[in-house]
C-alpha cells in the first residue's frame, strides 16, 4: 500500500530540483489541487497557485456530456515565458494531462511544462510520462485509484462498479 506522506515528500523533493527556474505550480481539479497545495506549502513559494478545471477540454464530452459542477480555472499570474509544474493526483491514461496542456496554451505560451503526479499507474493511452512521481502502482484494468481529501489525504483503490 502507498504511504501518502512519503509519496508527497518525494514529489516535493522532485519539485525542489526545479527551484532555480522559479517554477509556477498549477494543480488540476480536484485531487491535483490538493497535491499542489501541499507541494506549494512544502516549497514555501510566494506566488499563488494556479488551478485548472479541464472539463471544457475533455475528449469524451460528446459521450458523457458536461459535468454540472465545473470548477473555475484560475491562473493568477501571467504564464508567458514561465516554467510550469503541472500537478495531478493520478496519472492513468494521460488524457487529462493532454486536456490540461491544451487549456494552458489557451491562456499563454509557457517556457516549459513539467509534470508532477502523486501516483503513477499503468494504462497509458497517450505518450505522457511524469517528470516527478510520488509512487508507482500496478493495477488491473477494472481497478481505480483515487485520492481522498483534502484533509487528511488518503488513497483508495476501488473495483469498477463499486
Amino acid at each position: 500500500m502507498i504511504d501518502v506522506e512519503e509519496a508527497l515528500a518525494r514529489v516535493i523533493d522532485g519539485a525542489r530540483a526545479f527551484g532555480e527556474r522559479k517554477p509556477l505550480l498549477i494543480g488540476i481539479h480536484t485531487g491535483g489541487v490538493w497535491v499542489a497545495e501541499r507541494v506549494h506549502e512544502g516549497l514555501g513559494l510566494d506566488e499563488p497557485l494556479g488551478t485548472l478545471d479541464i472539463s471544457f477540454y475533455r475528449d469524451d464530452f460528446s459521450r458523457v456530456g458536461i459535468h454540472p459542477q465545473v470548477k473555475t480555472s484560475h491562473l493568477p499570474v501571467p504564464l508567458d515565458g514561465r516554467h510550469i509544474i503541472l500537478v495531478d493526483d493520478v496519472l492513468h491514461t494521460g488524457r487529462t494531462i493532454r486536456a490540461a496542456m491544451n487549456e494552458i496554451f489557451d491562456f499563454a505560451r509557457p517556457a516549459s511544462i513539467a509534470l508532477a503526479v502523486l501516483i503513477v499507474r499503468d494504462g497509458r493511452e497517450l505518450p505522457v510520462q511524469p517528470d516527478i512521481a510520488g509512487a508507482t502502482i500496478s493495477l488491473k484494468p477494472w481497478q481505480h485509484v483515487k485520492l481522498t481529501g483534502p484533509d487528511p489525504l488518503g488513497i483508495r483503490i476501488t473495483e469498477k462498479g463499486e
Binding site: R63, V64, G65, P68, Q69, V70, S73, D106
Partner: protein, 323 residues
C-alpha cells in the same frame, strides 16, 4: 402539449420552455453558466467543447441581443454558426418552416436555435428532427423565451442570492410577454418567496393568479418592498386593439421612475429584457442608475446560453461519466 425536452433521465435533449424544469435542474444549468463566466474574461475567449458542431440561428423575427449572444456563445464554444434571417430566407418564397429545417438538416446541422412569431414553432421542429439534433427555443410567439428566463434567474441569483427570501415584481405588458411566462415558471420552480405581476388589467393575462403569482394594478402596492423589479417592454406590435390609453398616460401610471423605485427595497435591482422604451415603461435615470443591472443581464446571457448549448450538445449519446 410540449414535446418532451429530456431524452433520458436528467439529460435535456431540447430546450423549449421553463415549464417542466425543476428548481434543481435550473440550478444545475445556472452552475454550469457560472463556470462559463470565466471563459469570457480570458485572453482567448474560447473553449473547444463544440468544435466541429454546426449551429443554425434560425430567426423569423428580428432580434439583436438574443441572436448576437447566441452567436457569441456558440463561437466561444468553438462551434460553427450560421445565421438565417427571415428577410433573406426561402420562407419568403413560401417554403414551410419544416421544409426549411429539413434542408438545413441535410447540411448536417447539429443544433437549431429558433425564434418564430408563432407559439409552438420550436416545439414543432423539435418533434420532427432526428435524435442527434437539438432545438433551442429563442422565443415563440407569446409562449416562451426560456433562455431569457434563465439568464434573468442567473442575474437575480448573482445579485440577490437565495430565491426563497425574495419578492420579485414583474411590471408592465405581461399579457404579450413570453419572457414573463418563462420567468414566472422559473421563479416558482426555484421557490421564490413572492412573485407579483404589476400592470393595468388590460395587460395582465386573465386568471394570471393560477400561475402562482399575485396581481397588482397599482404600482405603489406592487413595488412595495420588492427585491427585484423586472420591467417589460410594451409590445405594440402584438397589440391588436387599444389596450392602453396613451403612452404618456401609461408612463404616468406604470413607468418606473426614481420616486417609484424608492418604494421597493433600498437594495432592489432593476432588470429589463430589452429593448427598452425609455420614457415609456422606464425613466432614463433609472435605466442608467446604480440599481440597474440591465447591461449585466446581456453579459450573463452569453454564459447562460453557453451552458444550455453545451448541455444539449453533450447529451447526444452515452451513459454515465468516465473518470
Amino acid at each position: 402539449m410540449m414535446a418532451a425536452q429530456s431524452g433520458s433521465a436528467h439529460r435535456l435533449r431540447h430546450f423549449l420552455t421553463t415549464e417542466d424544469l425543476s428548481g434543481g435542474a435550473i440550478g444545475e444549468i445556472l452552475d454550469t453558466a457560472e463556470s462559463f463566466i470565466s471563459v469570457g474574461e480570458r485572453e482567448i475567449k474560447k473553449v473547444p467543447l463544440l468544435r466541429g458542431k454546426t449551429i443554425v440561428n434560425l430567426f423569423f423575427e428580428s432580434s439583436t441581443r438574443t441572436r448576437t449572444t447566441f452567436e457569441i456563445a456558440g463561437k466561444r464554444l468553438s462551434a460553427d454558426i450560421i445565421n438565417i434571417n427571415t428577410s433573406v430566407s426561402a420562407t419568403q418564397k413560401g417554403e414551410s418552416l419544416l421544409d426549411t429545417v429539413r434542408n438545413l438538416e441535410a447540411m448536417h446541422t447539429d443544433l437549431f436555435v429558433i425564434r418564430h412569431p408563432l407559439s409552438g414553432a420550436a416545439d414543432l421542429v423539435a418533434r420532427s428532427v432526428p435524435p442527434h439534433v437539438h432545438v433551442v427555443n429563442a422565443g415563440d410567439g407569446r409562449h416562451a423565451h426560456p433562455t431569457q428566463g434563465l439568464l434573468d434567474m442567473f442575474t437575480i441569483r448573482r445579485y440577490k442570492g437565495d430565491f426563497r427570501q425574495l419578492t420579485v415584481a414583474i411590471v408592465g405588458d405581461v399579457l404579450h410577454s413570453r419572457v414573463a411566462r418563462s420567468q414566472i415558471h422559473a421563479l416558482t420552480a426555484l421557490g421564490t418567496k413572492e412573485v407579483r405581476v404589476v400592470g393595468p388589467r388590460s395587460l395582465l393575462p386573465a386568471a394570471v393568479e393560477t400561475l402562482g403569482v399575485r396581481a397588482h394594478t397599482d404600482m405603489a402596492t406592487g413595488l412595495s418592498g420588492a427585491d427585484v423589479i423586472i420591467m417589460l417592454r410594451l409590445q405594440f406590435e402584438r397589440m391588436s386593439g387599444a389596450l392602453i390609453p396613451s403612452a404618456h398616460e401609461y408612463f404616468d401610471l406604470y413607468g418606473l421612475t426614481r420616486e417609484r423605485l424608492a418604494l421597493a427595497d433600498k437594495d432592489a435591482i432593476v432588470m429589463h429584457p430589452g429593448p427598452m422604451n425609455r420614457g415609456l415603461e422606464i425613466a432614463s435615470d433609472v435605466a442608467d442608475g446604480p440599481q440597474s443591472v440591465i447591461l449585466p443581464q446581456v453579459t450573463n446571457g452569453i454564459a447562460v446560453r453557453m451552458a444550455i448549448l453545451a448541455r444539449l450538445a453533450g447529451a447526444s449519446a452515452g451513459e454515465g461519466r468516465a473518470s
